[in-house]
Symmetry: C2
DNA sequence: AGGATATTTGGCTAAATTGCCAAGCATCCG
DNA sequence: CGGATGCTTGGCAATTTAGCCAAATATCCT
């Protein structure tokens, strides 16, 4: 694999890796529906320590998927790209396909 | 996060995690162009040990993204879902967005 | 049978990821 | 000022992931 091609796949992998966690998927899913959420709201929804959620948000931000905005003592996050729904449609079709095959095995 | 929602995000995360590696992205990219490839061809393209590539292929297969078919002593892999191109379009738009922002910082 | 080729798997080590607690920082309120 | 609130960061332990070599398996060829 030549250096240029490798660099491109590494850049893609970084973005995809940022999405590869249940809590971060919840965050992205939520932000695709409500414009913005503060850390405390997301922490409530996810149900783990706020420090953990803060780190998840940092991963998503670092990957360029979300942006933050501080207002008062709260920090609000929102999506930076809108195409993630198509993304998830594809993931769901993989899951549906897999479920169908497993069902056929049982018959 | 209730159990059902968690289960769904975990299933999604497993699929996405399978894609979150440069070598596996190369494999998927290649298979979106050429119908099928044997392990030896992919090993040649990636440039690491065949055992490593075989493990990457197992990850993708386990996630339901590719299927294998043995013919003679060779094993051929092909994509099981066709929607991955849309997937990558989205990733690319994230990267483009990020690049634009970084460029603006320099100006 | 016996050697060559293609692939997978076991075993190991190094590195990355995750999640919690505690501590730090900034902002608000009394 | 001083305490409370919202969030981030340092530090640590547990788990997962990645990649290599060597060994095992399967198929092909002679």
């Amino acid at each position: 694999m030549d250096a240029k091609r490798l660099a491109r796949y590494e850049a893609r992998a970084q973005v995809i890796k940022a999405l590869a966690h249940p809590a971060r998927l919840l965050i992205v899913d939520e932000l695709s529906q409500v414009e913005e959420r503060c850390v405390c709201e997301l922490t409530e929804m996810i149900g783990s320590d706020m420090s953990t959620v803060s780190r998840h948000l940092a991963v998503l931000k670092n990957a360029g998927l979300i942006v933050d905005q501080k207002r008062g003592q709260m920090v609000f996050y929102r999506l930076r790209v809108k195409c993630l729904l198509k993304f998830f449609e594809c993931v769901e079709s993989v899951l549906a396909c897999r479920a169908r095959d497993q069902h056929e095995l049982l018959v």
